[in-house]
């Protein structure tokens, strides 16, 4: 079987599986977020944290809950990493010193669902921090994103109210009822595929071919791997991430990991459709995600499999930086899936991709990670793009801007437009500042367009809470740890504030009756319009920078 045929079959089987699962999972998540019943365990948690599960919150209270929870999480994880040497299951001789800057960067990274790693997992973090610190954030940071998305959907579904639900209930239910059971099942599947799950720290020592000795660090890898993909986190137990055989042993676990990192985000539109009582609206949002993803994957496969040059021509594709167990096509699908979502896990080296292949990974993130995006963040990002499209369409054809019976007034469009502009502002400003400072330019290991791409990728990844790295740049410095930490924090929470403000603004409205002037938002032409508006807006925002980086490199 040719590489191209195998790649197409790999992709087709993924699509079939996602289509099959999105209905039952989407319906299940609908029941989780609309149920009035709390389990005994959930009630115990609410008593412990002093939350009243029956009390609804205004958008301001919802935002303050998100911010308070996240601030405490960052401070806890920051201190936890710094004192890990005094706790059980720590590394005796970590290769990378845990400095305050690195600990802070890592804490912000995992709490914001970014999982940018300026360290090697296996030689820096002990098992206790991996399990009780980083893995916990893998669950709750994803649940925070899903909670905010559900609050926006409530804003669209509800009428004449200022209440958006209860953050603490959404957080606990998302973690306990959705992420935890799914990740347990996924971890068992990964263990069956050969991913390791043990507590070995220093006891596995092997003699190397060069005559030295090497400690093979084990750990509870499969359990972390499952939520790493399912929650769109991406932080690897090992530095090689999903290219490491202990994390991702073979071709079918590679398939499972790609499936996991897309399944929640592709199922949430179904949940949205059920909550707004129109499954067609959910299908339309899922269709926009699918169209953008299909364009991206097709283009990526084309450039990675057809790349010119002596070696790529000899082997038939761009093999550099690709793990041989997976091959070019499957690695290209993984690279696309991880950047189209907010995952950031990698099974190949993005820095080694063709210039256009590398550009696609960046462009995927610059889309705002909406196709299908991160757990929750993909849905709220796409709904905001739908609202912007309704507004633009209204301007063009003179129809009243309405979405799901809610009028898109100047207030709604100001909130949506500000949401859209925040992340590019952070990514481009960060890149510009890094390129303007001689000390930070010195951290680049490449010069010219490729060097610029590496810096642009780092800030794009941080601001969009992706977490993958182009590499080729020394980022474990005080400046980069702090600058990227700021990009991750503001890139995560500033948009959330505008999403929740928009949700409240919509929830306060009644439902406008449909008229002949109402733009249908469930038909294929609307799907095409949203995809088109998204591509045009993102291209207009990032094209100059992409022209100086990967496009210039491709021409060269």
């Amino acid at each position: 079987m040719s590489t191209t045929t195998a790649g197409i079959l790999f992709l087709a089987s993924l699509i079939v599986a996602l289509v099959a699962v999105h209905v039952p999972l989407g319906d299940y998540m609908y029941r989780v977020y609309t149920s009035n019943k709390d389990s005994r365990g959930e009630r115990a948690i609410y008593r412990l944290i002093g939350a009243d599960p029956k009390a609804e919150q205004t958008w301001g209270a919802y935002v303050r809950s998100v911010l308070a929870f996240s601030a405490i999480s960052i401070l806890f994880l920051f201190i936890f990493q710094l004192v890990q040497g005094k706790l059980p299951l720590h590394l005796n001789d970590p290769a990378t010193q845990m400095t305050p800057a690195l600990a802070w960067n890592t804490a912000v990274s995992f709490v914001t669902n970014t999982n940018w790693q300026a360290y090697s997992g296996e030689s820096t973090q002990g098992h206790l921090v991996q399990m009780a610190g980083l893995a916990v954030q893998n669950f709750v940071s994803a649940a925070v994103g899903m909670a905010v998305a559900i609050a926006l959907v409530r804003g669209l579904a509800r009428r004449n109210t200022g209440e958006l639900g209860n953050f603490w209930v959404d957080l606990v239910r998302g973690t306990i009822r959705i992420l935890l059971p799914l990740s347990v099942i996924a971890a068992i599947i990964l263990v069956a595929g050969g991913a390791i799950q043990n507590f070995h720290l220093h006891d596995q020592v092997v003699n190397t071919l060069a005559g030295g000795q090497q400690t093979i660090t084990g750990g509870p890898v499969a359990s972390q791997e499952s939520i790493k993909e399912l929650g769109n986190n991406g932080g690897g137990f090992y530095n090689a991430n999903s290219a490491h055989p202990f994390e991702n042993p073979n071709s079918w676990t590679n398939w499972v990991e790609i499936f996991l990192l897309m399944v929640i985000s592709f199922s949430l539109p179904r949940t949205f459709g059920r909550m707004v009582e129109s499954k067609k609206q959910g299908y339309a949002i899922a269709a926009v995600m699918a169209v953008l993803a299909a364009i991206s994957v097709s283009f990526m496969m084309l450039v990675q499999l057809q790349h010119h040059g002596t070696v790529p021509t000899a082997v038939g594709s761009a093999m550099e930086g690709v793990e041989q167990r997976f091959g070019v096509a499957n690695s290209a699908v993984f690279a696309d899936a991880t950047t189209l979502t907010s995952t950031g896990a990698v099974d190949s080296f993005h820095d080694s991709y063709t210039s256009l292949g590398g550009m696609i990974t960046m462009f995927n993130m610059q889309l705002g990670e909406v196709a299908p995006g991160g757990a929750g963040s993909g849905l709220y990002g796409m709904l905001i793009l739908a609202i912007i499209t309704v507004f633009i369409a209204g301007l063009m054809v003179g129809r009243t801007p309405e979405y799901l019976g809610k009028k898109i007034t100047p207030r709604e469009i100001k909130l949506a437009a500000t949401y859209f502009l925040i992340t590019p502002l952070i990514a481009l400003t960060g890149t510009a500042v890094a390129m303007a400072l001689p000390g930070q330019r010195a951290g680049m290991l490449n010069t010219g367009p490729h060097g610029l791409s590496e810096v642009l990728y780092a800030f794009t990844s941080a601001a969009n809470n992706n977490g993958s790295a182009f590499a080729g740049i020394s980022v474990n410095t005080e400046w980069y740890n702090t600058a990227l930490g700021l990009a991750m924090a503001f890139g995560r929470f500033m948009p959330m504030i505008f999403v929740l403000a928009l949700a409240a603004s919509l929830a306060k409205q009644g439902k406008a009756p449909e008229s002949i002037g109402t733009l249908p938002t469930h038909r294929p032409q609307f799907v095409g319009m949203v995809a088109g508006v998204t591509l045009i807006l993102v291209a207009l925002t990032f094209l100059p920078m992409l022209a100086l980086g990967p496009l210039a490199e491709g021409i060269h």
């Binding site: 301001g60 935002v63 303050r64 911010l67 308070a68 996240s70 601030a71 960052i74 401070l75 920051f78 710094l82 400095t99 305050p100 800057a101 600990a103 802070w104 912000v108 207030r411 100001k414 909130l415 702090t482 700021l486 924090a489 503001f490 929470f493 500033m494 504030i497 505008f498 403000a501």
Partner: protein, 32 residues
């Protein structure tokens, strides 16, 4: 207090400042 201890304090203060700023943004948006 050595440099590392100072850095710990600086990053704790930075975290508090970030979330105070985010709270301020929320208040400003509320007033729109």
């Amino acid at each position: 207090m050595d440099r590392s201890d100072m850095s710990v304090v600086v990053y704790i203060v930075l975290t508090v400042v970030i979330f105070a700023l985010l709270g301020l943004v929320q208040k400003l948006v509320e007033g729109l």
